[in-house]
Structures are given as C-alpha cells and as structure tokens.
C-alpha cells in the first residue's frame, strides 16, 4: 500500500497494478470449435522486453492465440498464466488493438476520454492525458473530428493511441496494418516503435514478412494451429529450423 501511494503521485501512476504481470506462460493450449481443433498443444513463455511477433499463413490460428491470451475467449484445454497476477488483474494491465479498429461513434478526443473515464481518472486530468495521447499519435489537429470519418490509417492510429492511453503492460495487436497502404503502415509502425520504447510488451500477429523483419525481436511461427517454431527473430529469419518456416520465408504458399 505504501508503495502504491508513492507511485500514484506520478502522472503515469494509474496503471492498474504496479507489479509486472509478465512473464506470460502458455501451457499445452488447445482451442476447439465444434470438434475441430484450431489450436493444438501450444506451449511457450515470453517475458518483458522483446517484441513478440506471431507469424504464419492465414488460418494458422494467430488471431485465436491473441484472443485467448487476452482472455476474450476461453481455451478448451491447457493454461494461460500471467506470472505476476490473477487473470482479472492481468486483464486490466492489457490492451488489444484489432485488425479493423472498433471506434466509438464519437469525436476522436471522446474516443480517448472514454477509456480514461473507465479508469476512473478525474475529468480535468483526462483532458491533459487525452491531449498527450493524441499528440503522440499525431492526431491532435483531428481531435474534434468524428472518429468514424478519419482515414483508415488515422483510425488505426487512434485505436493505438486509445490502447496506449490505458498504459498497458502488454499490448496485443492483431494484424494492425493489414488493410493499410504503405504510408499509413509506416505511420502505425512508427507509433508502435514509440510504444515499445516506453517499455510496453507487444505481442502482435502479422502475415506480412517485411513487417515481421522490421518489428520482431522474437517470432512465434504457427502453422495449422501448431507452434512450429519459437526463436529469436535473427535466428528465425537467418536459420529457420522447420521446413514449414523455410517454405514460408521463401514466399511459398502454405496450407
């Protein structure tokens, strides 16, 4: 309690828990729908620091893995454990950005203040934090604009800024640039860089190899719902161990 009091005087001190929820440990994780096994026996653990990129062809189970880790869906078997916290606490220290940003039908600014209000931040402070969040995302000039009329790239940056405003310890990103053009993708990746440098752990999916090379510190390579390879990015890209990964890196179609 003493420690919490000391920390909460800092402006960023509203993070739900002060202890880190990482590492994340996934053990024999399975997910089935109607008898069909979509994820099969995944085990890995990942800690503070490296950006984890979940790589694999479409339908490999990348999004499912993220949703399971974030607690949006429940596993059929296996366990997901956040070392530092109970599942409910852990959830409050995470945020997720979806492939197609889900923005409220309100102004850009209101999309940020909405989540700040959820965290019980007083009104006056909300304004300051909202301005900072939009500034960082380069969206401040658009603050008064309705979120739903922003361009695709701006919408995704707003979704990122909103997730970041929650000051999560872990940020899940599900194909954050899948439907964006190169310029918008670059802007989103620049923002991701900033978020990474503040110490937020990022776990993201992509099927874009170039993006994986640019962003990944470690790679989880999935194929047909199985974890085929889990390696540091440099190792994975220079010396893949499995024939599926070799084929994927060569740009061959996998199914």
């Amino acid at each position: 309690m003493k420690q919490m009091g000391a920390l909460s005087t800092k402006p960023e001190g509203h993070t739900a828990a002060r202890v880190t929820i990482l590492p994340l440990m996934v053990h024999e994780l399975c997910y089935e729908v109607g008898g069909k096994r979509l994820l099969d026996g995944l085990s890995f653990h990942t800690d503070v620091g490296p950006r984890t990129v979940v790589l694999g062809p479409n339908g490999a189970g990348k999004s499912l893995l993220l949703r399971l880790c974030h607690g949006l869906i429940q596993p059929s078997a296996g366990a997901i454990t956040w070392a530092g916290a109970a599942p409910e606490t852990a959830r409050r220290c995470q945020a997720m950005v979806f492939q197609r940003p889900v923005l409220l039908r309100r102004s850009t600014a209101a999309n940020i203040t909405y989540v700040l209000r959820l965290q019980g931040i007083p009104r006056r402070q909300r304004r300051v934090m909202m301005t900072a969040a939009l500034e960082q995302a380069g969206l401040l000039p658009l603050a008064a604009r309705p979120a739903r009329v922003l361009s695709g790239g701006e919408q995704q940056r707003l979704a990122l800024a909103r997730a970041w405003a929650l000051k999560p310890q872990v940020l899940f990103l599900d194909e954050p640039t899948a439907s964006l053009d190169p310029a918008a993708t670059r802007a989103v990746e620049a923002l991701l860089d900033q978020i990474h440098h503040t110490g937020t752990k990022m776990i993201m999916t992509t099927h874009d190899l170039g993006q994986a090379r640019r962003l990944a510190d470690e790679v989880l390579f999935l194929h047909h719902g199985r974890l085929v390879e889990y390696a540091p990015a440099t190792t994975f890209f220079s010396n893949p161990q499995s024939k599926e990964a070799v084929a994927f890196l060569e740009g061959k179609l996998l199914w």
């Binding site: 949006l72 409050r92 997720m96 889900v102 989540v115 309705p146 009329v149």
Partner: protein, 234 residues
C-alpha cells in the same frame, strides 16, 4: 372531388384564421402524443437495450413478445386502461379516467413496445461490432448498455419517430380513455371521427390534412437531424 376542394379551403381558412378551437385541439394532440412518446422513450430505450445485450433466461421470449406487442390494437389497449382507471378498477381512486393523463398512459403503452423493439434491433447490431472491444476494455454490462445507446442515438431516433407516428395517428385508445370531451380531451383524431359521424366531412378532412402536415413536419425534421448526424459522425 368537391368535398376535397371544400375541405382544402376549410382547412386553409382554419389555419389562416388560427381558429381558437382548432389550435386548442391540435395543441392537446401534440402535448398528449409527445408526452406519451417521451415517457415511452425513457422506458423503451433501456428495456430494448437490456434485452439486446444482457443474457438472461427467457431472452428470446421477451424479444418475441416485444415484437408482437408492436401490433397491439389501440382499442384493446384503450379498453385495458379504461378497466384499470374506471371507478371500480384498481387505479380508480386516482380519478384519471377521461383526463389527458389517461390518454398519455394509453398511448405510452402503445408506443413503448415499438421503441423497445426497434432499440433492441439497433443495439444488437451495434453490440455485435462493439462487443469484443468493450470486453477488451473491461466495460461492465451496465456501462456497455449506455455506451451502445449513446452511440446509436441517431438511429434510435427513427424508432422514436415511428412511435410518435403511431401515437398521433391512433384514435381507438384515446377515444375510450379520454371520452372525446369538448375542450378537455378532444384531440385531432377523435374530432375527425366525431365530425365524420356528424356528416361534417369538410371539417373532418381539413383536420386530417392538418394532422398529416404535423406528422410530416416532425418526421422531416427528425430525418434531417439523423442524416446530418450520420454524415457528421459516420
């Protein structure tokens, strides 16, 4: 055809002359229907949203009931409210029968299912889009409900309008519980019924035109608001 021409000029004459009785009747019509719709909105929006978002046993049954109740015959609702409010009825001591309040209650009962059913549909569609994001943000089910209602506010206007259309156009309920008393509970629709039965067709037609103009104006205004908002808010 002659009737229509006479009616048209009668209506024009009444409107231009701002006939005292006519103004009183139209004002009562508006105030009864608007009160009923406001009350029904306060009841119907949360009800519809709750049925859309909350999971509870019998949810499907409630949905079906809401939809079915959109078609309640006004005379039946009027009769039920009459029985409730009549001297011998459970709410008889309140002395509300044959007052504008009774008419508001009856119309509210007619309109609430319309607004609730419409809200249920709108909010359910919106919820499908928002559900995962809201869950990710840790939004509780009660707050989710208000978020969805607020974000759907402009679409919900259509349902409220449909309710207003029904309230201002119905005659069966208000004539039973209001009694069509001159200068007390006489509204546009009951006057039309009365004047028609007296054979005063031009006046009845004139009132009909005024009623249609009113409904048209309210709907047009709401449509403009909704479309502008849709364009602005996306």
């Amino acid at each position: 055809m002659d009737d229509f021409r006479t009616a048209f000029f009668t209506a024009l004459g009444l409107l231009v002359g701002l006939d005292r009785d006519l103004v009183a009747i139209v004002c009562l019509s508006l105030s009864v229907s608007l009160s009923a719709v406001s009350l029904a909105t306060v009841l119907g929006l949360p009800l519809g949203a709750a049925v859309a978002v909350w999971r509870f046993p019998g949810q499907a049954v409630v949905s079906i009931l809401l939809n079915a109740m959109m078609g309640l015959p006004p005379v039946v609702v009027g009769l039920m409210v009459y029985l409730l409010l009549s001297r011998a009825g459970p709410l008889g001591p309140l002395g509300l029968l044959f007052t504008p309040t009774a008419m508001v209650i009856a119309q509210c009962l007619l309109v609430t299912p319309i607004i609730a059913a419409f809200t249920r549909q709108t909010v359910a569609d919106l919820h499908e889009e928002y559900a995962e994001q809201l869950r990710s943000l840790g939004v509780g089910s009660r707050r989710a409900l208000w978020t969805l209602l607020w974000d759907g506010r402009f679409s919900l206007l259509t349902g409220i309008l449909a309710g207003f259309g029904r309230a201002s156009a119905e005659v069966g309920a208000v004539i039973i519980v209001g009694g069509n008393i001159h200068r007390v509970t006489r509204v546009v629709t009951t006057t039309i019924a009365l004047e028609t039965s007296k054979g005063n067709l031009p006046l009845a037609l004139a009132l009909g035109m005024i009623l249609m103009l009113l409904v048209l104006a309210v709907n047009a205004a709401a449509m403009v608001i909704r479309d502008t908002a849709k364009r602005v808010y996306g």
